[in-house]
Amino acid sequence: MTSFTARTARHFMTIKAAKMIKKEIEKAGLDDLKILAENGVSIIATYLQGCSPKKQAELRRDFNGLLAMGVTPEMVLDEVAGQMPELAPIMKDKEGYRKAELDKVSQFLKGA
């Protein structure tokens, strides 16, 4: 059983991670993100694959840190969808999209 403090910490860290992702992917523009989402292209995976190896290492370290705290990629992805209401219907309605997104993130965290 986790303590209240731990749960609170996980909550805030999930929000912070989602904010960071939102801030980054918004640079590409909502229209482009909608196009990718409607065509079933994983936004997170595309972003991660496009980053430099150095950036990828930093992000991998941060995500693994979140995992160690109990913050899972599903939690972050749900938070991102909640913070971006324009994309949320697309991401939530497409069950395969969400699953493919989580698989890509998992592969990325494993260093694949």
């Binding site: 482009d32 595309t46 694959q49 999209y97």
Partner: protein, 473 residues
């Protein structure tokens, strides 16, 4: 010590040439002595040969041996310097070899062109007067011959007839006067000077005896011996000075009387006094202090300058500094690699069109200063390397910039690909997984909103389960 005659005899008995070492061994002397004797005999053509083949006696050398003659020492056997001539004249005068050696030992430390020194040395060695007079006259002749005619008579005057040796006694003839009886000489310090006919204080003999007495060869008279005792001691001492010419007591009395007569005031000598810088004599009263002043050394004029030699880029420069002036020494220039200045030029001879070094009017080789050219080439090389390095860095940065990924740019690129109708590689990577039908080979993806447990091929309608899809993918 072997003589020339002994060496000739040794060579005469040999059938062939004999080397120097064998001669030295036979005559029981050093090889240097043999070489000296050989050199003298060779000059007289008595021997011939060389050091390699050996020495042999010539017909000219056999003749004096056959006649029983001894090889005399000639002028050719001695050097031309004063000391050699002095010794040679001693031999000619018939002096004993020991006296010659002793006189030469004293003479070489004195003024060898002073007749007074000659007389003093011979008197000190106690050379018999017969030989001494010959010796002095021979040496005087040598000095006169080696002196300019204008000053010859002034420096080395010939003895007057009165001064020439005349026998004054009978029988053995040992009692003789070498100089005139006139008072022509004075004694200054330990030196005897001839001041003119009858103008001096002593005869030459008296002067010699006075000098000998001054040199300490005369023992002091006993404290209470009185004048007679002192004179007797003095006479005994003078006998030692000239044993072959003993002095009579009358001679000694004459000497003392002469000294007394020449002293204007007998008591004056006992009065203490001193001579000032101007040469004036001052009497000192008992208890009167004498103040001695250390006179400062006069400043040297002209000759005390200091020469400083410097190595400059223009060459070696000599500077003259006067005494007392500070000498500023510049620190050595820093290494040329750290300064933009000129490096010391290295000698680089100028080669003419004919391939030979170019020389100046004095015949010295001409060197070219190629330092500016070297500096310019060095600057050009550095500039070229700097430009190449800059270009390489720019190219590397461009390559890095082109190859470094940007997630946002990837998203934009993928969106643009979809807008154009295609699918980018990144988009393909991010797209949902597709499957291929094993029957009709139709590519299909999981339908959106459908259950993933069963999938129907859009081409042939075959149904695949989840396990089948995961296992076949």
């Amino acid at each position: 010590m072997a003589s020339q005659t002994e060496l000739l005899k040794a060579l005469h008995g040999k059938e062939g040439p004999t080397n120097t070492a064998d001669l030295a061994k036979e005559l029981k002397t050093s090889q240097d002595t043999i070489r000296a004797l050989i050199s003298k005999l060779k000059k007289k053509a008595f021997v011939d040969g060389d050091a390699k083949e050996g020495w042999y006696i010539t017909d000219a050398g056999i003749k004096p041996l056959g006649a029983g003659e001894s090889i005399p020492t000639t002028i050719k056997d001695v050097g031309k310097d004063e000391l050699s001539m002095f010794k040679y004249y001693g031999q000619l005068a018939g002096a004993e070899p020991d006296d010659i050696a002793a006189a030469a030992e004293l003479f070489q430390n004195s003024d060898m062109r002073s007749m007074a020194e000659v007389a003093r040395v011979l008197a000190e060695v106690n050379v018999p007067m017969t030989s001494r007079t010959k010796w002095i006259n021979l040496y005087r002749g040598y000095l006169r011959n080696t002196t300019l005619p204008e000053i010859r008579d002034e420096l080395y005057p010939l003895p007057t007839p009165e001064e020439r040796r005349v026998p004054v006694g009978e029988g053995a003839g040992v009692e003789e006067v070498t100089r005139g009886e006139r008072l022509d000489y004075i004694v200054e310090g330990n030196e005897i000077h001839r001041v003119g006919d009858g103008l001096g204080e002593f005869t030459f003999r008296q002067a010699l005896q006075v000098v000998a007495a001054k040199r300490g060869s005369v023992p002091k008279a006993e404290g209470d011996g009185g004048l007679t005792g002192a004179l007797s001691a003095f006479a005994e001492a003078l006998k030692n000075v000239g044993p072959s010419q003993p002095l009579t007591i009358q001679d000694v009395i004459n000497i003392i009387n002469t000294m007394k007569e020449n002293q204007s005031n007998p008591g004056e000598a006992s009065v203490p006094g001193y001579v000032d810088e101007d040469g004036e004599w001052h009497e000192l009263k008992p208890g009167q202090p004498v103040i001695l002043k250390r006179s400062a050394a006069p400043p040297s004029s002209g000759g005390g300058s200091v020469l400083v030699i410097k190595q400059t880029p223009e060459g070696i420069v000599t500077e003259e500094h006067k005494p007392g002036e500070p000498i500023i020494i510049n620190s050595s220039p820093p290494p040329a690699g750290n300064t933009p200045g000129m490096m010391p030029m290295m000698p680089f001879p100028v080669i003419g069109g004919d391939g030979k070094p170019v020389v100046d009017q004095d015949g010295r080789p001409v060197y070219a200063n190629i330092q500016p050219m070297l500096e310019w080439l060095k600057f050009q090389g550095e500039q070229r390397r700097s430009d190449q390095r800059h270009e390489a860095l720019i190219g590397l940065a461009q390559t890095v910039r082109e190859n470094l990924g940007d997630g946002v740019q990837a998203l934009k690129a993928a969106a643009q690909e979809f807008q154009k109708g295609g699918v980018s590689t990144a988009a393909k990577q991010g797209s949902p997984q597709t499957y291929e039908c094993g029957t009709c080979h139709t590519q299909f993806a999981l339908p959106q909103g459908a259950k993933a447990d069963q999938v129907k091929c859009p081409g042939c309608g075959a149904i695949y389960t989840k396990e089948q899809l995961e296992g076949g993918s």
